[in-house]
Amino acid sequence: MGEKALAGLAVAALVAAPPFLPKYPLEILISVLFFAYLGLAWNILGGYAGQFSFGHAAFFGIGAYTSTLLFLRAGLSPWLGMLAGGVLAAGFGLFEGYLSFRYGLRGPYFSLVTLAFAEMLRVVAVNLKVVGASIGLVIPTSAAAPALFVFAHKLPYYYVILALTAGALLLTRVLARTRLGYALVAVRENEDAAEAAGVNALGAKLSAMALSAFLTALGGTFYAQYFAYIDPTITFGPGISIQGLLPAIVGGAGTVLGPLLGAFVLTPVSELTRALLRGRAGADIMLYGLVLMLVISFLPQGLIGWLRTRRMRAG
């Protein structure tokens, strides 16, 4: 069977099968797509541009808090708040990126600075009463209101995250073949050489930052509406930054399908561990840590990279 046919079949299954799924598998599928989406968003900056952000929680939290606060305080539909959050996160990303790139922060220094920015936002959110402080914010969901991004069943949420993921995938695919996409890869491979060849490295990295931040923020709004509760640790904490970059690393950073593949492997494994070791908090994240170490040690290019090498060897 050809690859196109296989892909077509997968898409058809993802669109058509969920209405017939019981609640638990549907929840897992939503979780898979949610992390695939975060991975895709991170991948633009981390994978294509090679800038390893450890602080994407900053954008995620900005998205979640912006749409939620706009709804709670001004009655604005989270559908619109989502866009506002995305724009705000992109702005914050540009600010953070400009500071970091302008002063030549590369590699681990960039990772540390992004981590620090996310932690700062977390500390501010914990201490700010107007945003609910450490207690967090509850999104009222007693009555279904599709115009307000509140649904009575899981299924519509599934289609929302499916649409977001499909959009991010398409965007990545298009991006990879544009001038900007090539510029990002050039910067990742050798920034000085890229600049010598006339690539505007600062501009390219900032574009990736803004795009990545925008997409991540939409994921934050989705999280808020789906779980109907946010607090500073969940949304701005290091946990979400790590869980967002893992699918990309495991699947293959800097590839279009990598994050999707990574999420389809990671999330079910973690759900399974959680189910098997019921009541043992931490077992699933422990496994994540182990998987991360194993992947870095044995599949440094991720699953996609591994598949590619195998295919090259085979033919």
């Binding site: 922060l105 070791l277 040690s297």
Partner: protein
């Protein structure tokens, strides 16, 4: 702001800073030799705290005395981690090594959660509340011992680095790796030893604070981030810089706590961190890179 409060903040900050200094000394040593930012440093500290805790609960060993057992044990653990986890990935891309230690941190932290649950544990020693007063500032004996012990260990380590052959090899490797290899230093061995010493340092720091600090699986996280700040402030790989940086961060945190409401004190530390990273990534005492 009255003088008493300020004095109290200064004293608390310096005492806290001494402990940060030892934690960061271990981190900066590892960075200097292995060129890895070890995200698992705090997790190793957490394990060290649990080790002292269980020694106390199990055989009633005083946490200060437990250092004599845990420090050598954690040296071995550190060497083992380096051999099994870091060494096979020695030539991996920088960001992959970062993720490797991050994976290790997640693994160790959640292993502790699985084994010992998330409850806060405290080690109740009989001298927990002993204290005396200097001027208007209250000094808790346990905090003074922790800071004094930490600084003493850090200086002993500094002496070792300065005057022994092993120390010279470690310094040679962190300052000029190719030259060190040319003169026949066994790089593989020194890398393991450096990770071992770094882990022993942080386990000792953990043991020293158990008489007044809670123990939980995620207790290392905040120390880890503080140690990053300190190490960057002092200059990555700069040993004395880590000690001075520790004192500065301790002071900044405790002055922040005295002046700012809630947990905003952490903000002060992060702001310092970002400013140093942006404007002086070589650290306060390093030479600017040309």
């Amino acid at each position: 702001m009255n003088g008493g409060l300020l004095l109290q903040a200064l004293v608390s900050g310096l005492l806290l800073g001494g402990v940060y200094g030892l934690v960061a000394s271990g981190l900066t040593l590892i960075f200097g030799v292995l060129r890895i930012i070890n995200f698992a440093h705090g997790a190793v500290m957490m394990l060290g705290m649990y080790a002292s805790y269980w020694l106390w609960v199990g055989i009633g060993l005083d946490p200060y005395a437990s250092v004599l057992l845990t420090a050598p044990a954690f040296f071995v653990l550190g060497v083992a981690i380096e051999r099994l986890v870091i060494e096979p990935n020695r030539d991996a891309a920088e960001h992959n090594q970062l993720l490797l230690t991050l994976g290790l941190a997640l693994f160790l932290e959640n292993l502790a959660l699985v084994l010992w649950q998330g409850d806060f544990r405290t080690l109740r020693v009989p001298y927990a509340n002993a204290s005396f007063v200097i001027g208007e500032a209250l000094v808790e004996v346990s905090r003074l011992v922790a800071a004094g012990g930490a600084v003493a260990i850090a200086f002993a380590l500094y002496g070792m680095l300065r005057y022994t052959d092993l120390g010279k090899a470690i310094r040679a490797l962190s300052e000029e790796r190719e030259g060190a290899m040319l003169v026949g230093i066994d790089v593989r061995r020194i890398r393991g030893v450096a990770f071992g010493i770094g882990s022993a340092c942080v386990a000792a720091a953990g043991a020293l604070i158990t008489p007044f600090f809670y123990i939980a699986p995620d207790v290392g996280e905040s120390f880890n981030i503080m140690a990053f700040v300190v190490v960057v402030l002092g200059g990555m790989g700069n040993f004395l810089g880590a000690l001075v940086g520790g004192l500065i961060v301790g002071l900044a945190e405790s002055l922040g706590a005295a002046f700012l409401p809630g947990s905003l004190k952490q903000l002060v530390v992060f702001v310092i961190f970002v400013l140093v990273l942006l404007f002086r990534p070589e650290g306060l005492f390093g030479r600017p890179r040309g």
